[in-house]
Each structure stands twice: as C-alpha cells, then as structure tokens.
C-alpha cells in the first residue's frame, strides 16, 4: 500500500535526478538560480528565481545572519543609564529584548526554509526544461505555467493563501511558543526582557513531583483526565439515553421535546455559562431561594469547596453538552438496522439486554471518531472551566485552582503570572496527552481509511 502511494506521485524531475543526470547548466542553476531557465528562453521564470535568490542573499547579508546569531545568543545587554553631559540629564540607552530576538530568529529560520523550497523548485525547473529540450519538445512558456496553475496545478494556486495564513497565524506562533519552553522567559528572577536558553530545565521542573509547579502539574493533569473522561462519557451516555427516549415509539410530541433541548444550544455558550456562575454564586438566586424556603440554613459552597465545584462543573457541562450529543446522535440511532432489534425481540431479549448487546456496541463502533473529538475538546475545554468556576477554589500560594484544567492553568500562568516558559511546557504536555490518545484511535476509523467510499 505504502509503496503504491509513493509510486503514484513519483516525479522524474526530482532534485536528486537533476544532480545525477543534469547537464552543466542545470547543475549551475543550483548556484545561480534560474540560469537553466534563462538559457532556454524562459526569461520571466528565470528572472523570478534570480530575483528571489538575490533578495535572500541581500536579506541574509544585511540582517539575517545577525538575526540568527541573536537567536542563538538571545542578547545580553541590559538597559543602561547614561549621563548626557551636553543636555545635563540621564538618558536610557535601550538594551536587548530577548523576546523580539527570539521572534525574529524564528522568522529568519522560516525565511530560510522557504528559500530552500524555492531553491529546490528552481533546480527541478531547470532540469525539467533540459529534459524537454533533449526530448525535442518545446519548453513550457510562462503562459503555459500560468495556465497550469488553473488546471493540473490548481492546488498550488488555491492553497497558497490559506497556507500562508496557517503558516503565519498558526505554525509560526506555535514554533515561537515551543521555543519559549526551552528558555527562562518568566517573571521568576525577573527574566521578562532578557532571557536565555536553558535546555530541558523547564520540563524537569514541571515533571518533578517535589517542585511546587511540578506538584501542581501532576494534580492538574490528574483532574484534567478525570474531567475529560467524566465529561465525555456522561454526556455521551446520558445524551444517548435521552435521544432514545425521545425517539421511542410511545413518545408523543417528539419535535417539541427536541426543540426545547435545542434552545440552549442557540444561546452563546459564554452567556449561559456566565449566567450559571451567577445563579450558583454565594448570593445567587439558587442559594437565595433555598434559604428563603427553609431548605438550607447557610448558603451552599458551590464554587468555594473543591468537591462541590468539581461536581458542579461536570453537571453544568451536562446542561451544555447533552443537546449537542442529541443533535449528533439522533441520526445515527435511526440508522441502526431494524432487523437486528426484531431478531433480538424474537429471541426474548428485554430492553436492557437490547441496549447493552445491540445499541451500545453499534453506537460505539460508529461514533468512535466523534468520541475522540469530544475527548480532545474536553481536554481543551477552556470555556466551561474558566467561565464557570475560574478554576476556583484556589489554595493559597498556588497558581492553579482545584478545578483548573491544563489549558486554564496555561492561561493563568501566561496571562496572570507571566511564567511564559512554564506555560509553553504545559501546552506541549497537553498536546502530548492528546496526541497519544488520538493517534492510537484515529488511524483505525473507517472515515480515514475509506475516504473515497462515496466518490
């Protein structure tokens, strides 16, 4: 299977072939980009390659090298005060800003990688032109290339802008953040303007049980996993049962029930969550009503007690999540082959047996990709925790509360505490947890293996 795939996209005009079989002009194109094209009258193409090469060399010579060196050193000069005698005042001479050095360094690396891609393209293009000439064909004109962009190479045209967007707004920041995980960029010891590479030290801190941050990490990780499993499966099973109750034969007014549940989906999540927080707060309406009718004496500690808060976020997450589950699952439930049920009923199976022997196995089989996505979303469920409990209750002196997930803790570490390096490590850890779970399960799903089933 693998071999077939690589053959499918086998390209005779590869870089290695170009060096093996190319003539002097093609090989020289590796040094002077676009030479092969220029010599064979592909003037515009050749000039574009040449211009890119010159631009890159100028960039590297004037700035790039310095940026890359700064990236390695991350600067060391502090801001200093200099007495300006002619004006008679103290002036500040700006020092280095490690953060900008890190950012520009990453950008310079990206530019270099981009240049390598163009460089490879220029060699391939020169070799291709050479082959065309050897075969006696006319080399592609610039107009042919443009036309190709709208036809067999349409993907290059369509993907260029979206890929640029993803590169600048997703991958570049991510690489930048990952790089931060290996520095001491943090409020601790005042490393907010000047910081240095520290290797794997932050990972050691986070994974160390005895360190205060390490201890917090393990307890937060534990709660994150408990939360993700509890939230995913409670929503899944209760949602499924509710969907089945609404769908069963004896139930009247099916669409009315469905509509009532769907109503909560339509309200923006942050509004309903903020409202829930207010309702269940110390002086909120729930406590007030319960006290007024004499059911309790003192206000219930919904958000101030760890166990209460943990149970509350899971319960309120049910309120948020069950309608989504009903929405997703109803269609699949109706697709379970009816003869399976009939056969079971003839054999004398009761509703409970039918659920555990037919409905559940079928649903688990079909909805495993959905379950993985839900699990991933729950591990990264920033909104529910941050807006409901805000991670509270927070023990004195700790950076994370008892209901904080890895993501909300990451937010607090970076935004509130400015421990950027530890935050970056936590982000990488979250990713690691998710990657392990999804890689094991995702590649087994049918929609991945059999994507052309309907075409």
């Amino acid at each position: 299977m693998k071999r077939k795939k690589s053959k499918e996209f086998a390209n005779p005009y590869s870089v290695s072939n170009a060096f093996r079989n190319g003539d002097t002009l093609t090989r020289l194109s590796a040094v002077i980009m676009g030479l092969g094209n220029l010599a064979h009258k592909q003037i515009i193409k050749g000039l574009i390659f040449l211009a890119i090469e010159i631009a890159y060399i100028v960039f590297m010579a004037t700035k790039g090298i310095e940026l890359l060196l700064d990236f390695i050193r991350l600067g060391g000069e502090e801001e200093i005060e200099i007495y300006n005698e002619s004006l008679g005042i103290y002036q500040y001479q700006p020092g280095d800003n490690s953060l900008l050095m890190l950012l520009y360094g990453v950008v310079a690396i990206f530019v270099t990688i981009g240049f390598v891609v163009v460089w490879r393209a220029s060699i391939k293009s020169a070799y291709k032109t050479q082959c065309y000439i050897e075969k006696g064909k006319k080399p592609l004109s610039f107009r042919d290339d443009i036309r190709g962009l709208f036809d067999q190479n349409l993907h290059q045209l369509l993907l260029s802008l979206p890929l640029a967007g993803i590169l600048i707004f997703t991958i570049l920041p991510l690489v930048f953040m990952i790089a931060m995980a290996f520095t001491n960029y943090s409020k601790i010891d005042n490393h907010l303007t000047l910081f240095d590479w520290v290797g794997l030290k932050n990972f050691a801190t986070v994974l160390n049980f005895k360190d205060s941050i390490g201890g917090t990490f393990w307890s937060v990780l534990g709660w994150t996993l408990v939360w993700a499993v509890a939230a995913t499966f409670s929503n899944y099973f209760l949602g499924m049962i509710l969907a089945m109750i609404i769908n069963r034969k004896g139930t009247k007014l099916k669409s009315l029930w469905r509509f009532m549940f769907m109503l909560s989906v339509a309200v923006p999540q942050f509004v309903s969550l903020l409202l829930m927080r207010t309702m269940f707060s110390q002086n909120g309406i729930v406590n007030n009503l319960l006290i007024k009718y004499g059911l309790i004496e003192n206000a219930l500690p919904f958000w101030s007690d760890a166990s209460w808060a943990r149970v509350m976020v899971i319960i309120i997450n049910l309120w948020i999540g069950i309608p989504f589950t009903i929405l997703q699952i109803t269609g699949i439930l109706q697709n379970i082959p009816a003869d399976l049920y009939e056969a079971a009923r003839v054999d004398g199976a009761g509703p409970v047996t039918i659920f555990f022997k037919i409905t559940l196995p079928y649903m688990l089989f079909v909805t495993s990709p959905y379950l993985i996505t839900t699990f991933t979303n729950n591990v990264n469920n920033f909104n529910v925790i941050y807006l409901l409990s805000g991670g509270a209750p927070t023990p004195v002196g700790s950076t994370a509360g008892k209901t904080d997930l890895l993501v909300t803790w990451l937010y607090k570490l970076t935004i509130d505490n400015q421990y950027y390096n530890v935050g970056a490590v936590i982000g990488i850890m979250t990713f690691a947890v998710l990657a392990v779970v999804s890689l094991i399960t995702y590649h087994r799903t049918g929609s991945y293996k059999n994507e052309e089933g309907f075409q």
Binding site: H155, I168, T170, V267, L274, G423, Q455
Partner: protein, 290 residues
C-alpha cells in the same frame, strides 16, 4: 387468562409512557429555565444580581434603553458595530480559505496531500490559545496592534488559520460524484472551471454552513479579543463588553443590561444556528441524491 395478560401489559406500557413524559417534562424545564430566566431579568426593574424570587416584581424596558444610550463607560452600540464589521470580513476570508483547502484535499491528488492532512490533525491538538501571546507579538511586530488596525488584526486572527477547519467541507466534496467532474474534463474544462462552475454551485449547503460558522466566531470568542485589544476599549467586541459587565466594578449597575445584551445577540445567533443546522444536515447527507 390471555386477555387479562394483554390488559396488564397495556396498563404497564401506559404507566411507562406517562412516567417517561413526566421525566421529559422535568428535564425540559431544567433546560429551558435558565434561558427563560435571562429573558425575565432583561426586563427586570431593580438593578443588581441579587434576587430571591424567580419572577421579578416589576417589568420595564429600561435595560434595553440603557444598553443602547448609556455609552459613557461601556459603549454597547460601538462594540456591536465593531463585531459586525469584524465578523463580515472574517466570514468572507475564512469561507474562501476553507473551501479552497477542502476542494484541494478532496479533489486534487498531489504528493503533499496526506502529509498536509496529518499536519492539520496534529496542529488541531495544540490548545488553540497556547500561541495567543505569540500571535500578539507577531501582530505587534507587523504593526497591527495599535489604533483602528486592531480590527484588521482581529479579522486576521479569526480567519488566518481557518484553512485548518476543512474536514467537514472536504467530507461534503467527497460525496459529489467524480463522474460529473470527469464529464466536464472531457468537454475541455480546466480544473479551475470545474471548481467554480460545477463544484461551488453544487455545494450551496456547505458554503452557507461555512459562512455562518465563520460569521459567528467573533461574536462568541472573548479570549483572543481580550488579549489583542488589551485596554483599548474603543475596539472591544460584544463578548468582551458582556464579560466586563459582570466584573466587580460594573456588576451592580450592569447586570440587567448584561442579560439584555445577551438576549439581543442570542436572537440573531439562534436564527443563524437554526439555519446552519438545516444546512448541516443537508450537507452531511450528500449533494446529489439518488
């Protein structure tokens, strides 16, 4: 004997039915109550979040009036306009990105296709705002973090990575039979023509779905908006505004307005949501029937 058995069975079935309907009614009350409560409070006369009755004593529309006229501290109309402008541009750009990427992933066959799909999957597993701080510094370096350019920055942030969300639209394009494309190629159409003249017109449901989804995100997000706007209240979006109304210094005067604002933005979103759901169902069930 047999007859009494069936009546017994029927009686049991009836009790089960009644019990289930009672259960459904109770659950629906739980689900609808908070929403009904938002609407009730938005018409409440007395200020502040403190309440000890479910139904307010007096009703008024002052909260709505205040929301739109009292623009000294929290300028709701301006936030509304900001969000509207941002979401219109976001929705156009990201719909283009999503459709372009998903068409390529579904219809074109090129060497980097599978690797790209896997990379998209991996990128999706990083917490989305892990890179938030980095995005802010990148925008600052480009010079988009000050003044009215904040709006441009927010549009770019919401739509920049949109290309990664191609999975649903790709699934839809996968259901359009390839034979239609092939017939067009035989007639001499280029791939670009097939994309614009055949695939796009056949994909109305998924295009509407993508457009609406992208339109809604600026109304719902508050994390990125907060980090990028910082303290510059002139460019706040609706969600930051609503969030601020519940902060300690504002909550007493603004709690009722918060609910009024919530009602106002919930109405269009729920309408859009219902439209999307219809298109989503249509989209998932395939483009060409039969």
């Amino acid at each position: 004997m047999k007859k009494s058995n069936t009546t017994l069975y029927r009686a049991r079935k009836n009790t089960v039915n009644v019990l289930i309907h009672i259960l459904l009614a109770v659950l629906c009350t739980i689900w609808v109550l908070p929403i009904a409560w938002i609407v009730l409070i938005s018409f409440k006369a007395k200020d502040g979040p403190y309440m000890d009755t479910l139904i307010p004593a007096e009703f008024t529309i002052d909260n709505y009036v205040k929301l739109f006229t009292d623009t000294g501290v929290l300028n709701f109309p301006r936030m509304f306009m900001n969000t509207l402008i941002i979401s219109i541009f976001t929705c156009i750009i990201s719909a283009f990105f999503v459709l372009a990427v998903s068409y390529c992933m579904s219809r074109m066959r090129f060497r980097m296709r599978k690797p790209m799909m896997n990379i998209a999957l991996i990128l999706g597993m990083f917490p989305s705002f892990m890179s938030m701080v980095a995005v802010y510094y990148i925008l600052k370096a480009i010079g988009l973090s000050e003044g009215s350019l904040i709006r441009v920055a927010l549009v770019l942030v919401y739509s920049g990575g949109a290309g990664l969300g191609f999975y649903i639209a790709k699934g839809f394009f996968d259901t359009i039979p390839k034979t239609i494309d092939e017939a067009a190629y035989i007639d001499g159409a280029t791939r670009f023509q097939v994309f614009t003249r055949i695939t796009i017109p056949l994909s109305r449901p998924i295009i509407v779905y993508t457009l609406l989804q992208a339109f809604m995100s600026p109304w719902l997000d508050f994390v990125f908006a907060k980090v990028i706007c910082r303290a510059d209240a002139r460019y706040y979006t609706v969600s930051i505004g609503l969030w601020n109304m519940l902060e300690k210094e504002y909550v007493h005067q603004w709690f009722n307005c918060f609910t009024a604002g919530a009602v106002i933005i919930s109405i269009p979103i729920s309408i859009l949501f219902m439209i999307t759901q219809n298109f989503y169902r249509e989209g998932v069930s395939g483009a060409v029937k039969g």
